[in-house]
């Protein structure tokens, strides 16, 4: 294994993630500072220790309304539960990485790093170096963009103007194409997406913690197992 090459591949694969995080992290920093009254240090510490976009936005919204800490923590637990499923599905791929290292590096497991890494593991074996390059670079990007946003909290910038807000949807699109290897994968993806939207439509509150994604994914994978090869 070429360690340097693995690390660099991980870093390179993180570039589009960092690009997508920039407007999200920046906006989080701005809101944390100007709306929720958090200092630059507090906003940055949250990005270092939590690394949960949805959860951090919830925290800012609830802090602004003066909610209790326990409410914010429970909302964060719900919003992060999907990672339990993601992490479990990564276990078979991570056999090639020492357990302790894989556990530590999964600090950096997010929707985006998950998507990029499963597309990578579909073609190459997992290594500690690749995982470190991908997850740490993404995390550093998240921390830097939120710190920058918090520093500029008072001058709210419109990041949407430059089209950067479409970076994440575009990334999901190409990653989906990459992980669809069998006809059944395409069926599962389409049905799961439809079920996910249907749940969101029927119970809009599920969109706040993405529990619709969890329920639809569980159903979708189960459908996959029952499909004829």
């Amino acid at each position: 294994m070429d360690k340097r090459k693995e690390l660099l591949t991980g870093i390179k694969d993180a570039v589009p993630i960092v690009l997508g995080y920039f407007p999200l992290g920046f906006a989080f920093g701005v809101l944390a500072n100007s709306d929720a009254g958090m200092s630059v240090g507090e906003a940055t510490l949250m990005s270092v220790m939590c690394f949960t976009g949805a959860g951090q936005y919830i925290a800012v919204g609830l802090l602004k309304e003066g909610a209790a800490a326990i409410t914010i923590i429970l909302a964060n637990l719900l919003v992060n539960l999907r990672y339990f499923l993601f992490a479990t599905s990564l276990v078979p791929f991570l056999k090639t990485v020492p357990t302790r290292i894989a556990t530590l590096l999964s600090y950096g497991l997010t929707d985006e790093t998950y998507a990029v890494s499963v597309a990578h593991y579909a073609r190459f074996p997992a290594t500690s170096y690749y995982l470190a390059g991908l997850n740490l670079t993404s995390h550093v990007g998240w921390i830097a963009s939120s710190a920058l946003g918090a520093c500029m909290g008072q001058l709210v910038a419109d990041t949407g103007r430059y089209g950067l807000d479409f970076a994440l949807p575009a990334m999901y699109a190409v990653l989906l194409v990459m992980v669809v290897k069998r006809k059944q994968d395409a069926v599962v993806a389409a049905v799961t997406a439809a079920v996910c939207l249907l749940i969101a439509y029927l119970v809009p509150a599920t969109m706040n913690n993405l529990s619709n994604v969890i329920v639809a994914t569980l159903l979708g994978a189960t459908l996959g197992v029952t499909l004829k090869k």
């Binding site: 939590c50 990672y83 894989a102 556990t103 600090y107 998507a115 992980v179 969109m207």
Partner: protein, 106 residues
């Protein structure tokens, strides 16, 4: 830094990191049965299908299929490039470029 904010961040950190680290730390020693492995193999397509649909179609907490939703407009060329090139860079460039043009013109 205020003490209550630091405590809040620690609490959030625990509930954010446990679901990610616990399965990797504990389950890696087990070999899953074939049936479970097969089930897990569908998770990436299912998750990405859902996240893609949500990120394109949900605007301000409501589902919007119409072309008034700029994301739907930008999605069409972006997805075409994704399918034909299977290349992350070209797809991102198309997506961001189209979105910038759409936001500028509409």
């Amino acid at each position: 830094m205020r003490k209550e904010i630091v405590l809040l961040i620690i609490g959030m950190s625990i509930v954010s990191l446990l679901p990610r680290m616990f399965p990797i730390g504990t389950l890696s020693r087990f070999e899953f049965p074939e049936r479970v492995k097969e089930w897990l193999s569908y998770i990436p397509a299912a998750v990405l299908g859902s996240l893609l649909a949500m990120s394109v179609l949900v605007r301000n907490k409501t589902i919007d299929f119409s072309l008034q939703n700029h994301y739907v407009l930008a999605f069409i060329p972006t997805f075409a490039v994704a399918v034909f090139t299977r290349n992350l860079f070209y797809t991102l460039a198309t997506g961001i470029g189209c979105m910038a043009v759409i936001n500028h013109l509409l």
